[in-house]
């Protein structure tokens, strides 16, 4: 069975090919079922290989299956081959498993979309590329998958391409990834230059058994790290991930939560012998980058109103945890967290997709609220996901996060502190998300601030119009009275008109006063619906239609994956429970791939218990504060939602300003340099020739006498010259 490891990526590839070239006949749900079936087949193949592999002895758990020779050039021989070992199989299991669930979910989510077939084709292609990435037996196949997922990410983010913002987000993702790819490529070159081969078997075995020069290993490790931060959205190459939320939610779940973004951590785990041989500051760099990014992203997530943006920054933060783990030498913990994160983050994203689906595409949490009775299953599974990510025992997230924090304390207590603060923030913002979405009062029928503004504006305008009309009426009545002399009825009409005018003015003043005195409409109306008072009738149509249209639960194709993922989020911790050696299943399983580079935790059981309790307490604090702010309304939530956090520390804007400003100026200057200076030189030569020719033209005046004079002078000159050279 292990020899059939190539089946794992083959299924989604076949799915992609069939959907691209023959899919038109399949139509709507057919294409989706085909794609899901391909993923399911891939998952079954993975399970088969896994079962056989786990039946083998520890040292025997590595198998290379070569399909064909890809690039045989000079000393470089790269095959298309697959390395089935514990690490790659672990990745494959959750990629194919979670992937299949997300495919199933997408059938419901993308229902009615014109690009249904194209979506599933891309999704299958992505799965193929991702599987090649983790199964590749050399750096170049991994790179093939690496770039492949980048390209698919681009295609899927800009899936609804008629919207300029989506297209731009896709392009941004690809280019930011490419910056990381630069590092990866340089690392491959150096690896080849040093080892003469880029196959993992050669490189890692040699590094593990011998010693690579520190500078070389450092160079390779740092370059691979650059690649990893590009793909896994760490600082400073994280800017693409929040924008990537422009893609459909299943894409966000699959690519930007569970699979593609974990490639960086996979890569670093794969080359752990090289990191071990690198300089000491390299793991420290990795750890601090991860920790810093985790904290940084968590602060931003606190103030986001778009539900997907919260989850995006949360993903960046959790990936930071994984980098922190890698930097502390806790590879098992990193992989563990990767697996549990795949479960609960996919669950959270799919759940948010379900909410968005039920709310007809609205992603602003200010318009949510109280949805738990309208979408019970979504809410229930979402709560499980929340508990998992907040680190509440015994859900999966607690075990993996706790393991990372333990290793962080082992490495440097400061790192642990950063991790702890991040955990508190994580609990806070996730609780905030859950409360705003599922609890509290239902805000979807509330008029929105801009709608209220519009209502007041129209009311004021109407009042002004009424005053104008009334004064016009007064003028008309007065004119009429004057025309008819002292007719009593006319005079009475004037008086009546004047009274009416006074009333209109009073009404308008009243409205203006009310408008001036009205309370500001809150961004998130936690207390109660905004009091619009007298302008209730002026509210736009949308408000009443919203009130009639109730959010609803999603179809079974969307709900079933949520339930499965929720179960996994509950049970996921079982693979690596820290109590005894026998329960550390993941560690034993991954051992052959780690070459003994896993740091040994030198902490005693007591310390571990204390750390765990502190972490849980921190999480509880975060949850409590969020409950107080958003549910109990004892604390003003605006204390936490600072504008600078909402604007993500304004970094994205600075980068955009730079690219659009000095960046663009520099590029334009180069282009102008080319057309004016370089091309100008060429054209200048032509101009110079022309002007020289113009000068020389003067000799040709067409007059025979000039020519004759020239002949004469020349003849005389020749004679003189010859005479002077001969001696008589």
């Amino acid at each position: 069975m292990v020899d059939l490891v190539w089946l794992i990526p083959a299924f989604p590839l076949a799915g992609f090919l069939i959907l691209t070239f023959g899919g038109r006949r399949l139509g709507e749900p057919g294409a989706g079922w085909l794609a899901t079936g391909a993923m399911a087949g891939s998952f079954l193949a993975t399970v088969g290989v896994f079962l056989e592999m786990s039946g083998r002895d520890g040292h025997d758990r590595r198998s290379v299956t070569t399909l064909f020779e890809w690039v045989p050039a000079g000393d470089l021989t790269v095959d298309v081959g697959f390395l089935a070992d514990p690490l790659s199989l672990t990745m494959c299991l959750f990629i194919t498993g979670v992937g299949a669930l997300i495919h199933l979910y997408s059938i419901g989510y993308m229902h009615g979309d014109g690009g249904f077939r194209r979506f599933f084709a891309y999704l299958n292609l992505f799965a193929f590329a991702m599987l090649m990435l983790v199964l590749g037996d050399n750096l170049l196949i991994t790179f093939l998958g690496w770039e492949g997922v980048g390209a698919c990410s681009y295609l899927l983010i800009s899936f609804w391409f008629t919207d300029e913002a989506n297209a731009s987000a896709g392009k941004k993702a690809f280019i930011t990834n490419r910056i990381g790819d630069w590092g990866f490529m340089v690392a491959i070159f150096m690896t080849f230059s040093t080892f003469g081969s880029i196959a993992y078997v050669d490189v890692l075995d040699t590094t593990a058994t011998g010693t690579v020069a520190t500078s070389t290993a450092t160079f390779i490790a740092v370059m691979l790290f650059v690649g990893a931060i590009g793909k896994s959205a760490q600082f400073p190459l994280y800017l693409w991930l929040p924008d990537a939320m422009a893609g459909p939610t299943p894409v966000s779940a699959l690519i930007h939560a569970a699979t593609m973004v974990t490639s960086g951590i996979y890569l670093l785990t794969r080359v752990n012998p090289i990191i071990a041989d690198a300089a000491d500051w390299v793991p420290t760099l990795i750890a601090w980058t991860g920790a810093g990014t985790a904290l940084f992203a968590a602060t931003i997530a606190v103030a986001q109103r778009d539900i997907k943006k919260v989850l995006a920054y949360s993903t960046i933060s959790q990936l930071g945890y994984m980098f922190l783990a890698v930097g502390c030498g806790a590879y098992v913990a990193a992989v563990f967290h990767m697996v549990t994160h795949a479960f609960f983050k996919a669950l959270l994203f799919l759940g948010s997709g379900s909410v968005i689906h039920g709310m007809d595409g609205d992603q602003d949490m200010a318009h949510y609220g109280g949805l738990r009775r309208l979408m019970p299953i979504t809410a229930g599974t979402f709560v499980i996901g929340w508990l998992a990510i907040a680190g509440v025992p015994p859900f999966a997230g607690f075990w993996s996060k706790d393991e990372i924090l333990a290793f962080a304390w082992n490495e440097n207590p400061l790192l642990w502190l950063v991790g702890l603060v991040t955990a508190v923030l994580t609990a806070f913002y996730m609780t905030r998300l859950v409360i705003l979405t599922f609890f509290g009062r239902r805000r979807y029928a509330d008029p929105r601030p801009d709608e209220v503004e519009a209502a007041w504006a129209s009311a004021t305008a109407a009042a002004d119009a009424a005053v104008a009309a009334a004064s016009a009426a007064v003028d008309a009545a007065t004119a009429d009275a004057e025309a008819r002399g002292d007719d009593l009825t006319a005079l009475e009409a004037v008086v009546a008109a004047r009274d009416a005018h006074e009333q209109a003015v009073a009404a308008r003043d009243g409205i203006l006063a009310a408008a001036g005195a009205r309370p500001e409409v809150e961004a998130i109306a936690l207390e109660g619906a905004p009091d619009v008072g007298p302008v209730v009738d002026g509210l736009p149509e949308a408000v009443s239609s919203r009130a009639d249209h109730h959010p609803h639960e999603s179809p079974w194709t969307m709900v079933l994956p949520l339930v499965v993922l929720a179960a996994l989020s509950v049970l996921g911790g079982l693979v690596q429970l820290p109590f005894a050696a026998s329960t550390r299943r993941l560690e034993h399983w991954l051992e052959p791939t780690l070459f003994g580079n896993e740091v040994h935790l030198s902490l005693q059981g007591g310390t571990l218990w204390v750390l765990a309790v502190v972490a849980v307490a921190g999480g509880a604090v975060g949850i409590l504060v969020a409950v107080l702010a958003y549910l109990k309304r004892r604390v003003d939530y605006r204390v936490f939602e600072r504008p600078i956090l909402a604007e993500a520390w304004r970094l994205d804007r600075r980068v955009a300003d730079f690219m659009g400003g000095p960046g663009r100026v520099g590029f334009e200057a180069t282009a102008n340099f080319d057309s004016s200076v370089v091309d100008g030189a060429v054209n200048g030569v032509a101009t110079m020739v022309r002007s020289e020719a113009g000068l020389l033209r003067r000799f040709h005046n067409g007059l025979v006498r000039t020519y004759a004079a020239g002949i004469g002078v020349g003849a005389v000159g020749l004679v003189v010259w010859f005479l002077s050279r001969t001696s008589f």
Partner: protein, 543 residues
């Protein structure tokens, strides 16, 4: 060392046929009646198909085992007193360029109709094909120079008569610039031949193999002669700063003209560097390699930066060619097997993908009558098949693994890294810029909302699809399985590198050796910087 064996098809002189058939075809078209454009096109396409078939046969009949040898040799004395011969042969280096030419010409002829003066158009195209085949197959310096110059004339007319608004300027510029560059090459050729005759005391000869093996020029002289050759090739490639003819020529030429110009003609320069630069003047090539490497790097970055700011879609693709050819120059002057193979592979890859790009741009122009990016937008909605094809070709141009552009680019960079580390690190930055300008252009042209004429643009018809299909198939196939191409190139490239090593004192091909930096048994890793690999006593298996 390349041996001129008469190999393969010993009965059928395929190489002269490759040169003569298009020439005869051109003559035939020239005498056919002017008023029957369908007949003219039929004859022209048929001729180019015959040539394509012959080049395909050449690919198959090529003896892989003896790839370093010159095969299918054809030798006939031409001007006995001057030692000029009709000497044609192919080896691993020129084989795929011949095949590329054979493939691209029928596609260019089928894809686009000239619109007016069909007879002259087809005649010029066929004559161009004959000239190009001559360049790639010629092993006699005079014959090579003749064909090198001959290709300028049809191209001048193709740009000047069937091009766009500024065609006269572009055609003249192209012709004069290229000819000025190659004027000195003639002097160099004559100098080489005469000095060789003086040194050996034998008769005058222009036979490339003989001249290259004899190496009878002094170092300083060889460097000067090399420069004269290099100038001609540098303009043709084009290398910064001699590149400014290219954007104008590409933009103003008609679609077929651009396809051939970018797909085939640019390769004359890079091929010239390999076949004549490195082979004839190994020491001079090694001496001037840093200059060309730097210029190649500049071309990569500069070409990409300028491409980003273009408003004309065709001009953008033209500048992207400058960037891609910078990679080829980089690989060539890395002077090792991986680099040169990468450069050769990129010649073929660039030919295919840029030809495809120009075809697609031409299709857009034909429908929308504009090449300005600002006037295009949202085309994917109206023409999804075209958008899909453009995506594939664009990703190939960006160098996505799995498509053809990646393997060549990767080999170039690996080779350059082994030879000059930091140059390669800088050149790899070019891949970021490539993504930048292509994706931004794609976004502005295909994504976003469509309005007006953009919304009603029609998608590909059958003929256009058939024309694009072989190119797309090649893009994918060569990306997934480039091995047959590489294994045919490799012996010839190895021989070339060995030739350079043999004639340059103290130069060894920079490549990696297993175990160069590793101490396997003990833990004492010497902290030496991972130097450019030199032959070390390989510890452990040589993989």
């Amino acid at each position: 060392m390349p041996v001129l064996a008469s190999a393969g098809g010993d009965t059928f002189a395929v190489l002269p046929a490759l040169v003569l058939v298009p020439a005869v075809g051109a003559l035939l078209v020239a005498v056919l009646p002017r008023r029957r454009p369908e007949l003219l096109k039929l004859v022209a396409v048929a001729t180019s198909m015959v040539v394509a078939g012959m080049s395909a046969w050449l690919l198959v009949a090529f003896d892989v085992g003896r790839g370093a040898d010159m095969q299918f040799v054809f030798r006939q004395t031409w001007i006995a007193d001057l030692g000029v011969q009709w000497l044609l042969a192919v080896d691993g280096i020129s084989l795929f360029l011949v095949a590329l030419t054979g493939v691209l010409f029928p596609i260019a002829l089928l894809a686009v109709d000239p619109g007016h003066d069909d007879r002259a158009y087809f005649a010029w195209m066929l004559l161009l094909e004959a000239g190009v085949m001559g360049v790639f197959c010629a092993l006699d310096l005079m014959l090579f120079f003749l064909c090198f110059e001959v290709v300028l004339v049809p191209m001048y007319f193709l740009i000047g008569r069937w091009g766009h608004a500024d065609r006269a300027y572009a055609a003249t510029k192209f012709f004069l610039f290229t000819m000025a560059g190659s004027a000195l090459m003639l002097v160099g050729i004559l100098a080489l031949a005469f000095l060789h005759a003086d040194a050996t005391g034998g008769g005058l000869t222009f036979d490339l193999v003989e001249l290259a093996e004899a190496q009878s020029l002094g170092t300083a002289t060889a460097r000067w002669v090399f420069l004269s050759f290099a100038l001609a090739f540098a303009v043709k490639v084009p290398i910064f700063p001699l590149h400014t003819w290219l954007p104008d020529a590409h933009t103003e030429a008609s679609t077929a003209g651009s396809v051939i110009l970018a797909g085939v003609l640019l390769k004359l320069g890079t091929y010239g560097f390999l076949r004549f630069g490195l082979y004839l003047f190994p020491e001079a090539s090694h001496h001037f390699a840093p200059v060309f490497l730097t210029l190649g790097l500049v071309g990569i970055i500069y070409g990409a930066v300028v491409a980003t700011m273009q408003h004309d879609l065709k001009r953008l693709v033209a500048y992207s060619s400058v960037a891609h050819l910078g990679f080829i120059v980089l690989g060539t002057f890395a002077l090792n097997t991986e680099g040169i193979e990468g450069g050769l592979l990129q010649m073929v890859n660039h030919g295919v993908s840029t030809a495809a790009l120009f075809l697609l741009v031409g299709m857009i122009y034909e429908r929308r009558h504009t090449r300005q990016i600002d006037e295009l937008g949202g085309l994917q909605k109206a023409a999804p098949v075209m958008a899909a094809m453009f995506t594939v070709v664009m990703l190939s141009s960006i160098g996505l693994p799995g498509l053809n552009g990646f393997v060549g680019e990767f080999l170039v960079l690996v080779g350059t890294f082994n030879a000059h580390r930091w140059l390669a690190v800088a050149a790899t930055g070019g891949v970021i810029l490539a993504a930048l300008y292509l994706l931004w252009a794609y976004q502005r042209v295909f994504h976003g909302p469509a309005d007006g004429g953009n919304a009603e643009m029609r998608d590909l018809n059958l003929r256009e699809g058939l024309v694009m299909a072989p190119l797309l198939a090649l893009i994918v196939a060569m990306g997934i399985y480039p091995k047959p191409v590489i294994e045919r190139m490799e012996p010839a490239v190895d021989a070339l590198v060995a030739h350079v090593e043999a004639h340059v004192d103290g130069f060894h091909e920079s490549t990696s050796r297993f175990g160069a930096d590793i101490a396997v048994d003990s833990g004492e890793g010497h902290d030496a910087d991972a130097g450019v690999g030199h032959d070390s006593d390989g510890v452990g298996d040589d993989h």
